[in-house]
């Protein structure tokens, strides 16, 4: 039996989406992480700080199982892009260390901008398995 002593270790992180901050649903026990909605927070560091911290606590656990990350954001601004890059780099580091990580980048059909952004991020991923998944369009505004 594993006795968890890390201070940051937690089973899950759930942050409901608001008009301008994404929904975060990190199920650490099942290794399934998901982000939805839109991201252009008025305080990027304030929003992503706790997300990074929880993720770091989870990834620091050396004997973790496979990780599935579903990136389902419909829109993010340039400062959020930096934060996402940070998250993906953390995932790449553990994948390089041998952990199985799959990142699924979801785009609405015909959203070329989002598809291109996915390719921009994928460029740096050598050990994380990157997949692009098309979703049906939900309409103009979420």
């Amino acid at each position: 039996m594993n006795v968890r002593t890390e201070q940051h270790a937690m089973d899950r992180l759930s942050i409901p989406a608001t008009g301008r901050t994404p929904g975060v649903s990190f199920d650490f026990t099942g290794g399934h992480l998901r982000m939805t909605g839109e991201s252009y927070p008025d305080d990027v560091a304030g929003f992503f700080g706790p997300v990074f911290e929880a993720l770091r606590g989870f990834l620091d656990n050396p004997d973790g199982g496979p990780i599935r990350f579903d990136m389902e954001l419909l829109y993010f601004n340039s400062s959020s892009a930096k934060a996402l890059m940070n998250i993906f780099q953390m995932l790449e580091t553990v994948a390089k260390g041998g952990r199985e990580v799959t990142l699924t980048w979801c785009v609405e059909e015909n959203d070329e901008s989002m598809r291109e952004l996915g390719e921009d991020f994928a460029e740096d991923l050598r050990h994380v398995v990157f997949q692009m998944r098309e979703m049906p369009a939900a309409g103009g505004s979420p």
């Binding site: 008009g19 301008r20 252009y40 008025d42 419909l74 829109y75 601004n77 340039s78 400062s79 892009a81 930096k82 890059m85 609405e108 015909n110 959203d111 070329e112 901008s113 989002m114 291109e116 921009d120 991020f121 460029e123 740096d124 369009a137 939900a138 309409g139 103009g140 505004s141």
Partner: protein
């Protein structure tokens, strides 16, 4: 007289194809509300999701540039931290394309660096902008910049024509900076 004066301002805006315009102190709260109004209007006009998001993306980056870099700001706490930055934002239609013009004052000392960045962006083609974005995505933010570089590249990337900018010297300290983007 009153109505005549304002009708003339309104007519001037209408003649330029301007759909909405805001001048004064901008905040993150105003950005959010104007952004919602912009998206609702475009959705009612039956624009598709990706197009709305492209326009919205340029709008957000332009607005956040004003909020962060305007040389005319008030900040403090009014229950919570508040940052108000003077500037203007104008959105209109021209030859079937949406355009967004943002204006704000900047310090004269910052003009050369900003010009250099904008000229560099203007000189790049689509592929050049794309690789510049990829490069900057991996860079640490410039000292003192709160991430302007990536925001400007994002703007250039979503634009359908090369970006257009201009400076108008106001006094010994400041210039008025304008950036026009067609999407």
């Amino acid at each position: 007289m009153l109505a005549q004066q304002y009708a003339s301002i309104k007519r001037d805006l209408d003649d330029k194809g301007i759909v909405f315009s805001f001048s004064g102190y901008l905040s993150e709260g105003i950005l959010y509300s104007l952004g919602e109004a912009l998206r609702e209007k475009m959705a009612l006009e039956a624009a598709d999701g990706p197009t709305i998001r492209r326009v919205f993306s340029v709008f957000i980056e332009q607005m956040q540039n004003i909020i962060r870099y305007s040389a005319e700001k008030m900040s403090g706490t009014a229950g919570r931290a508040v940052e108000l930055s003077a500037g203007m934002v104008t959105i209109g239609m021209e030859r079937g394309k949406v355009f967004i013009v943002c204006g704000n004052s900047v310090r004269n000392s910052e003009v050369p660096r900003l010009k250099e960045r904008l000229d560099h962006l203007k000189s790049l083609d689509r592929d050049g902008i794309k690789s510049y974005y990829r490069e900057q995505l991996r860079e640490e933010p410039d000292h003192g910049s709160r991430g302007a570089t990536l925001g400007l590249i994002e703007i250039a990337r979503r634009a359908s024509d090369p970006i257009d900018y201009d400076f108008n010297r106001m006094d010994a300290d400041r210039s008025f900076f304008c950036l026009k983007v067609s999407i």
